[in-house]
Symmetry: D2
Subunit: 352 residues, 4 copies
């Protein structure tokens, strides 16, 4: 099979680097373009401040970064991890002709743009037909959620299906890589926790409701669960840890919850997509798990499974407590977007 | 004024060291005895693994650590920060003759033992009369709460007074010093968070209800607020950070909450006790406060004030969100116990 | 005594904040001006990103930051911790009329500018007469060394006096605050060490030779010891740790070295200057000292003493090994500069 | 090929866990026994405190840990990472019948025991003949060096071959995993560096001389280079960083050094042993490399290559400075021992 050509818009950032790491060995996709705003015109290897453990291959380092210009073409799928303000200007331009899969917040909440976690709401891809018609696009635009939302929504889905979740009280302990690079100054992170992340709490609440909403009559009806978040930054490189307190309509049963989480599968598992982990959710029985460093790369596709632990009752029979961990730049960004692209390809959305 | 002689039982531990630091300049109390189990018979300076920033003075280093033997006497107040199992064996023996103020969990929940935060429930000291009668003690035993409870109960008190708190969902990010020394292995703390602290969540719930309970008919009637805790250990030396979600009986008003917290004073402030901070609660308006490293020593008596930030509405008009910080070995242990002792002295409980 | 008015140029930076912390309680000096380039025109409290543990007092927060304009006057001493390129443009302008004490590298190596650690080379202040004559200044310019040099030169001086040091092999483990704010991105500091600090190794070598040089014939003859440095950045907030291997002309005696270091005093001690620590050098006998967190604030003036440990023989009788710690923003910057200003005042250099 | 049965003595420790991680996918060796002192009799999964990122496979967890009893047999190669005192008692007992490869310090410096880095001194294996004869063993005992020595000796070898190294001044910044588990308390590692590691400096000096010594007349004549070490513990999980200052007999040429290091190969590369990295030494040109987190797993066999950077001249033409990084539990322990075992097998030492 000839590889589908993909471009990375915002390639020099933290998430851009994660895209490169994941795509260089991808069975279906091949990187044909790296696109940047400030870095355009320079060889990628000269302009990137690479922060990961492994160096990019020299074939990637030699790519000259392209301008942000939809007229150039050169790829079938454009992954976007641009800064939000830049994304707002250009993503729709690219979507006129090309498939755009975006991790940015720019268009996540638009009525006709799917906000997708492929295991949870693949059905929302039906919005593509509407966006093409209403916006006169030959391409498409699909978005992935905020890095904090992605783990949360995944863990909530099977529980909401069982008991209907009415209220979610979530406190996050988020990784530094979620703030990009250079991100948080080190002097703020030694012997410290930052108790606030700008705009994050609002995003978590509204994105969760959209993702877990139902598609009907050509639109997504938001889930009516209420979400209150407290977002904190801790001194961890990768992996967002979140404690959840849930109130449900029906009585809960802890064993049933664990079973539903462990056995949960979505369309990507059914279709055996390359980036689909065997288990989107892994349940740990030990009291002291999940831990960011030890569990963030769990499962058959490292970084793509949400790890859940400490599932226990809340204050009454209609409440639950649990702790979840999700790799913020894999399932929370690049990995989820690549899985979206795999689903788009498999379901024929990339055919012209 | 001649100084009151005080002893520290468990002097070589983390909290013991904090006692020493706070007492060496105390205006009323003078250290006359250091007591230990394993370290007995050795000069303190030779047996302690001192972890604080400043070395103990040489006058302290030269003290030969005493055995755990109530017959020895030699002090008027015995501060106890022994391991809980040892505390259970000996604290009551000491209380037969002496005033014992304990940070251990051994007797906190006993019916006739006050669990005290002097600003909140000084009235519970009336249990001393009962304990003396029922147990035939000439001394007394008063306990301080778990390090996580102390900040929580302080912040809840003014809000409970205003609106009656029905439900508390609290997630903690606790400091390493709370686990004692050697405590948590460093390999567990680099690039990681530990999502569990043994027995902590249960203690937080039940101690909060006792502290905020009312004294009547010679007993403490527990407050009926419900508390669900998720306790985590983060890579911070000192200072427990906690996010709170509260549900209240009456409608909340954020400005009113901030005012009540800021203006809150207790009996120690009225009596101008030496370890009483001018403001037991400090409210910060900045979004990114409180932070452990920058705020744990705030206020007129470093480590004794609880710092509150991010006060905001919850999901409806009867709910609140806030973030609190409390120094776990000062207000959460040694400092609170010393304040208890000051109150005991001032109120005449130490007279024979 | 009426306080001498002092200005801080570059007040919003890391070192600027340290100046403020040290000067607000200074017995001789009072802050009359805060000066900045980008922050000019705004109240200090609104423009500074304060990183220290304690907030600046509100009297300081309300000061409107002044422009960098020597014509404005308003102070007798101008402390400069400006970025080096800005310093190069303006320090000499200020020195035409005012006393300037600078932590920047801009003019440290100029022939007629003293590079001063008051305990070591107070005699170099005689260059002031020369600079005034040659440059037609009514003010003066004195500089302090790089934060890494300051601890090194202090520890070397008594040893050089005893044995004549020929060769210094030094490896540093430097604190994050040495890189300013925002400084090093946190993603580079978790589970990592940065093995390089730009330009640092060269500065350490040449500044040490100048400081330890002899004043004669109106100039400083550099000390001819050779210095080879390897500079690293470790995940510590404050306090530069350095391992030294020294080769000397004369045979060494470890006990004699410890005695000379412990007993070392300089002119500031003799004059009892307010910022002069009782012992500029503190020698520790324990194998595992000095440690940054526990020793950086040692001594009678916190942060002003260099702490030395692990003094031992090298590979032969003419070599020594030792480990030193110096607080990089106190003795290594603001504290040393304030001590310079105290000496200037005491020796009559500030009289017009 | 049927796999050779190997046992791990001290399997529950940090290095034991690293052995398991490396051996579960080994092409030649299969784990047949896990041996422990305290953990004997329990299933490995119940007794180990696993600290790595990935869980051990359940096939390993189910193995019941064996006693330390040479009579049991059950393996052809016994890897030992026992505590040194235990090792001293039992390794020779096992060596009577079996091949023992040990990471412990117990017998490293014995005259007839090879201290081996397979790329450097494979010739020292000829001591096996002597040890068998003198000690009447049918088995054998080969040791690997201390984790700090291994990187140092590797980097020194090509330079010593070129110029003859006379003096080595080395400062280490060592990882926490080198102290085992629980190892260093976390309260000692936050915002701190520990400037001392017990016995380490002596080991580094004498082991380096033995490894780089020449085999002749049935014994190893130690290399006469002098080594002075200063060993520090920094807050890094894995990877020892070391700065080197070298003095050589012949004039140095930096380009020549880099070439010699980059091109260095040993017998394991020639024999294409499974754990032999393509390049035992990797030279980086960037100023800010090597870094522990980013470079410790470099190369074709992660953790087996020593990464060298900042190669530059010293104070004169006969001196060199460089910075090296070596993975302390892979090349510094388990990985090096497995490579020794591969070499033993390939060279026929395991045939009975």
């Amino acid at each position: 099979m000839r590889k589908i050509k993909v471009a990375i818009m915002g390639a020099t950032g933290m998430v851009g680097q994660q895209y490169i790491r994941l795509l260089i060995t991808h069975p279906w996709f091949g990187i044909s373009l790296l696109i940047g705003k400030k870095s355009a015109g320079k060889p990628f290897g000269d302009t990137v401040e690479w922060v990961g453990e492994y160096d990019p291959p020299s074939s990637i380092k030699q790519i000259v970064v392209n301008e942000l210009n939809p007229g150039v073409g050169g790829a079938d799928i454009f992954f976007s991890c641009l800064p939000s303000d830049v994304a707002r200007e250009v993503e729709c331009e690219f979507a006129k002709e090309f498939a755009v899969v975006s991790d940015t917040s720019a268009f996540r909440m638009e009525d006709d743009i799917p906000l997708l976690i492929p295991e949870l709401n693949a059905e929302h891809l039906k919005l593509i037909e509407r966006q093409r018609k209403e916006r006169d696009w030959r391409g498409l635009l699909v978005t992935g959620p905020n890095c904090t939302t992605s783990g949360l929504a995944m863990a909530l889905k099977p529980i909401d299906d069982l008991y209907k979740v009415k209220k979610v009280i979530v406190t996050t302990m988020q990784a530094l890589s979620g703030a990009g690079f250079p991100g948080v100054p080190s002097l703020m992170t030694v012997d410290n926790v930052m108790p606030y992340i700008k705009d994050e709490e609002e995003k978590v609440a509204r994105e969760t409701r959209k993702i877990l909403g139902r598609f009907a009559n050509n639109r997504v009806a938001e889930n009516d669960m209420q979400v209150a978040a407290s977002c904190n930054r801790v001194t961890v490189t990768d992996g967002h840890l979140e404690t959840l307190y849930l109130e449900t309509e029906k009585k809960v049963n802890v064993a049933e919850v664990k079973k539903a989480l462990s056995e949960f599968k979505g369309l990507p598992q059914l279709l055996k997509l390359p980036s689909a982990p065997e288990n989107p959710i892994i349940v740990r029985e030990e009291n002291d798990r999940p831990q960011p460093r030890r569990d963030r790369n769990s499962g058959s596709v490292p970084g793509m499974s949400v790890v859940v632990g400490r599932v226990r009752k809340g204050l009454d029979g209609n409440s639950l407590q649990l702790t979840i961990l999700s790799h913020n730049t894999v399932r929370g960004a690049a990995g989820n977007a690549i899985l979206i692209a795999e689903l788009l390809l498999k379901q024929g959305y990339l055919e012209k």
